[in-house]
Amino acid sequence: MADELSIALTVNGERIERDVKARQSLADFLREELALTGTHLGCEHGVCGACSVVIDGDVVRSCLTLAAQVNGKTVETIEGLSDRGALKKLQAAFLRYNAAQCGFCTPGMLVIAHDMISRGEAGDRDEIRDYISGNFCRCTGYQAIVNAIESVAKEEKAGVA
């Protein structure tokens, strides 16, 4: 079996120190070692976006990232973002527009939507569609998701102005 490495990182504001297998993905580390199961595995090869998490401010596929790679870094998952209220407006909008069905892609959708809104990159509907085009949703027609993100983006812009 593979060698183990010691890592220290911050996950959702909590300092974590663990020995991990060199081959363990960040997604498996979050799900199996920390029981943070809101990060979902849809394809395990970086296409579907369900496993998206935030590492040092950037959205990253946790299925393509090794746990060992995040040594010294700060990771936020859907649970952390949700609990600290960062997703409050988006979650309310997703509810209002029924922008989730089975909920399996939803954590990844919210993570990428939050990234887009935070960076001020949620422009028109086409731009929103482009930004989330790395996140696969099999249930909705994407339209409700776009509506929800668009409504929050407009709210944010109105708030800034």
Binding site: M1, R23, D28, R31, T37, G38, T39, H40, L41, G42, C43, E44, H45, G46, V47, C48, A50, T77, I78, E79, S82, D83, L87, Q91, F94, L95, R96, Y97, N98, A99, A100, Q101, C102, G103, F104, C105, T106, P107, L110, R125, D126, I128, R129, D130, I132, S133, G134, N135, F136, C137, R138, C139, T140, G141, Y142, Q143, A144, I145, V146
Partner: protein
């Protein structure tokens, strides 16, 4: 339009209300099968066949068994003696042949991806590691991969005991089709190819089987649409008493039919748990999903239509070959793909001469199973393409020819020549609304103007029917133990809150939210006062779960009946408490009011408190009943008819072969919409799946039966950037034979969308005389069609 919050009182059926329970998923707190772990749980991984067709000469598992991290290794023959095989036959379909399917391959493998050996270890990763230490000697055989070739004389018979590859042939004849075709002014005939695709639920299949040797019970946590069906399968096939088997579906990450099928390998997991006396978990990874989630479609169709000069449809003919893969499907019969197709071919249109043949054929590819629409999207698409081409030939507008030939609302109910039993449908009204919403005339003008500039756009209209909420007439006579009834228990808790236990399951449709809305409407309470419980075969009414778009209709009708019964009991008790007459009271705003004065006489919390804790204050003979159970089954009709029309507007780039979607519209008559917010996105989701079917999705097999694109990078599925905004209008025609008036909407979006995109693409290429006849419409196929027309 603003959506109501779940905490608001006064919610009525038909209101747009936020979905209760959704916030849990939005917070990342869903509990899917992959998120669950039990004490002492082991993990199972399958070695799957790398060959499409091969004899297993020898399996040497000694190296794998010797690994210290491996708990056990089982071959197919070792599991075979512990269970009965699955068998995809139907008692009422004489001549339907199917081979028994054991949990894993025994002496021969029949498709690439069939499980051969199961390895059990402490973790999934360890179990996968051990697969590399299995030594198998194969005698590779030449596979049969094409349905048409499988039917040829001298073709290799893949299951020798069946004496041929034909699983079932179904023929329909009405009127005098030969004469009608011979005498018709205009006959259009084409062949159509619908390649294989997969349902691609984002959450792969999975289960944890927990056999308890103490009580000799089996509990299975299963990502499945019908826990009842699986309770029956596990009990029957593992020879366990049914009341010692319990199946619980946690949150399920999408179903679409993929998870209504019965998978032999899932029985293997339960058998292994029983043998090891420990919980065993198996969750498919994405590669396994591609090679073992039952696929859909794979049809070769020859279809024709005869139309008179004045546009009347004279006759329809269809000959379908459906390559259903390596096995029949237990209980759910994959011959249904072809039977649904030929039964519903041309169903929206009035004609009397019909000839159809459907042949379901075994081939060495993954099994075909249930998927949204089951054959009907294909009959819808082929027929509407032919109608469109016939209109062009006789110089008639595509809208006019449809309207002329639609079955009239006044002719309902009726039985079509194909045997489809239609009721309560008004296609003309749908089409009128569609034409207005899409601004049809302006689009036609734009299309004509752009053609002069070398820009090729197409407008496609499709008409669909969706038989919803099948009653017992469908599965009953087949002998399958599948319930078409669903039930609901309502319990008033001491606080005045309500628990609703339903046999309906929800894989994201929002059906549970719809049922809560029905109960809220009847009891006049807010939806936040209702807790929904479902997915447990031991707890609710025995029922069907989620199939045939029946949740809102069947489960909803049962919920309505239960709510009415509970209301009656509450009012009777309120009458005793307040010393008034029950008929003078009604429920309003979480309480009981006097109808005349409008004044509140008591609250539901008081009813709950007295009914549960202070029965001593009631007359001794008063019968307190604050839990009620009701069920519903569709027995007045075979099923209800949802229907509607869709339109697609798109542009074909004739240089690159790429198709760009510019607009999509639907007018859907799905019965009374309980919550339009849910209905609209249910339709859009189906439409996007339909668009994916026509433009992108294909499980690509080579001539050796190898699946060549089993990753999401290689299997193209619709993403947000390629999809258009979709205009939805719900035509809220209530079903007249039920109290609730709902029909169903789960499959409508997909069924209609496939036809709309087929017709629009066909329309765009008319100036070239080109016709793309194979789905998906890849750029290569589009360019080939244009090139073929030029030559």
């Amino acid at each position: 339009m603003r959506a109501m919050h779940i905490g608001e009182s006064g919610v009525r059926i038909g209101d747009r209300v936020e979905r209760p329970g959704l916030m849990r998923l939005l917070r990342g707190r869903g509990k899917y099968i992959g998120d669950m772990a039990l004490p002492r749980m082991l993990h199972l991984a399958f070695l799957r066949s790398p060959h499409a067709y091969a004899r297993i000469v020898r399996i040497d598992k000694s190296r794998a068994e010797a690994l210290d991290y491996v708990h056990a290794v089982f071959t197919g023959n070792e599991l075979r003696e512990h269970c009965l095989p699955l068998l995809g036959t139907a008692e009422n379909r004489v001549g339907y042949k199917a081979a028994p399917q054991y949990p894993m391959a025994t002496d021969t493998v029949f498709w690439q991806g069939q499980p051969v050996v199961a390895v059990v270890a402490e973790s999934r990763a360890a179990a996968e590691d051990a697969l590399e230490f299995l030594d198998i000697e194969w005698d590779v055989l030449t596979p049969v991969v094409s349905g048409r070739e499988a039917l040829e004389d001298g073709a290799q018979v893949i299951h020798a005991e069946l004496n041929g590859n034909l699983a079932y042939e179904h023929k329909i004849k009405a009127g005098d089709p030969a004469k009608a075709f011979a005498e018709s002014d205009c006959v259009i005939e084409h062949d159509f190819r619908f390649y294989r695709q997969t349902g691609l639920t984002l959450e792969p299949r999975g289960l944890i089987a927990d056999y308890d040797p103490g009580g000799e019970t089996l509990t299975v946590y299963h990502s499945h649409q019908s826990p009842f069906q699986m309770q029956d399968v596990f009990a029957r096939h593992m020879r366990l008493p049914e009341n010692s088997v319990r199946v619980i579906a946690p949150d399920v990450g999408g179903g679409f039919g993929v998870k209504i099928n019965t998978y032999a390998e899932e029985v293997a997991v339960a058998v292994v748990s029983r043998l090891l006396k420990r919980p065993v978990k198996f969750c498919a990874d994405r590669l396994e999903s591609f090679s073992s989630d039952m696929h859909s479609r794979d049809h070769e169709i020859l279809a024709k239509i005869a139309v008179s000069k004045d546009g009347r449809i004279q006759a329809v003919g269809v000959d379908d070959i459906s390559a259903i893969g390596a096995y029949g499907v237990h209980l759910r019969f994959n011959i249904a793909e072809s039977m649904m197709l030929i039964t519903n071919m041309g169903a929206p249109y009035e004609f009397s001469n019909y000839e159809a043949r459907g042949r379901s054929v075994y081939v060495n590819k993954n099994i075909i199973g249930m998927f949204r629409g089951v054959g009907i999207p294909l009959s819808c698409a082929t027929c509407d393409v032919l109608v469109d081409l016939a209109a062009e030939r006789i110089g008639m507008d595509p809208v006019a020819i449809r309207k002329l030939n639609y079955r009239k609302a006044s002719s309902m109910p009726c039985v079509t020549p194909g045997g489809s039993k239609l009721s309560n449908m008004n296609l003309e009204a749908c089409l009128d609304r569609l034409v207005e919403r899409m601004n049809y005339k302006a689009l036609r003008a734009e299309q004509a103007a752009l053609r002069k500039k070398g820009i090729y756009r197409g407008i496609g209209i499709s008409t669909y029917i969706e038989p919803v909420a099948y009653g017992p007439l469908y599965y009953g006579p087949t002998g399958a133990s599948i319930s078409s009834a669903d039930g609901c228990t309502l319990r008033l808790d001491p606080s005045g809150a309500v628990r609703c236990v339903t046999s309906i399951t929800d894989q994201g449709q929002g059906t549970l939210a719809a049922l809560a809305q029905i109960v809220a409407d009847e009891l006049r309470i807010s939806m936040s006062a209702i807790d929904m419980i479902s997915g447990d075969s031991a707890v609710s009414n025995y029922g069907g779960g989620a199939w045939a778009s029946r949740g809102a209709m069947c489960g909803g009708e049962a919920a309505l009946k239960a709510a009415r019964a509970l209301k009656k009991n509450i009012l009777n008790m309120a009458a005793v408490i307040t010393q008034s007459k029950a008929e003078d009271l009604e429920l309003r705003e979480e309480g009981v009011v006097n109808k005349q004065t409008g004044l509140r006489v008591t609250t539901l919390a008081d009813i709950g408190r007295i009914g549960h804790f202070r029965q001593d204050t009631l007359p001794p003979d008063f019968d307190v009943q604050l839990s009620v159970t009701k069920s519903h089954v569709v027995n007045n009709l075979a099923y209800y008819t949802a229907s509607g029309v869709q339109a697609s507007y798109l542009e074909v780039d004739t240089e690159t072969g790429c198709i760009k979607l510019l607009g999509h519209w639907t007018v859907a008559d799905s019965g009374r919409a309980i919550n339009p917010l849910l209905v609209e996105e249910q339709l859009r989701g189906g439409i996007v799946q339909g668009i994916g079917s026509v433009l992108y999705e294909e499980c690509i097999y080579d001539e050796n039966g190898n699946l060549n694109n089993a990753t999401m990078a290689d299997y193209l599925a619709p993403m947000a950037s390629e999809m258009p905004d979709i205009d939805v209008e719900i035509l809220d025609t209530p079903e007249t034979t039920t109290d609730l008036g709902a029909k169903g909407v789960g499959e409508s979006g997909l069924i209609g969308a496939i036809g709309a995109v087929w017709v629009a693409t066909t329309d765009a290429l008319k100036p070239f005389g080109a016709f793309v006849n194979a789905q998906p419409f890849t750029p290569e196929r589009v360019l080939d069609a244009i090139a073929a027309a030029k030559n």
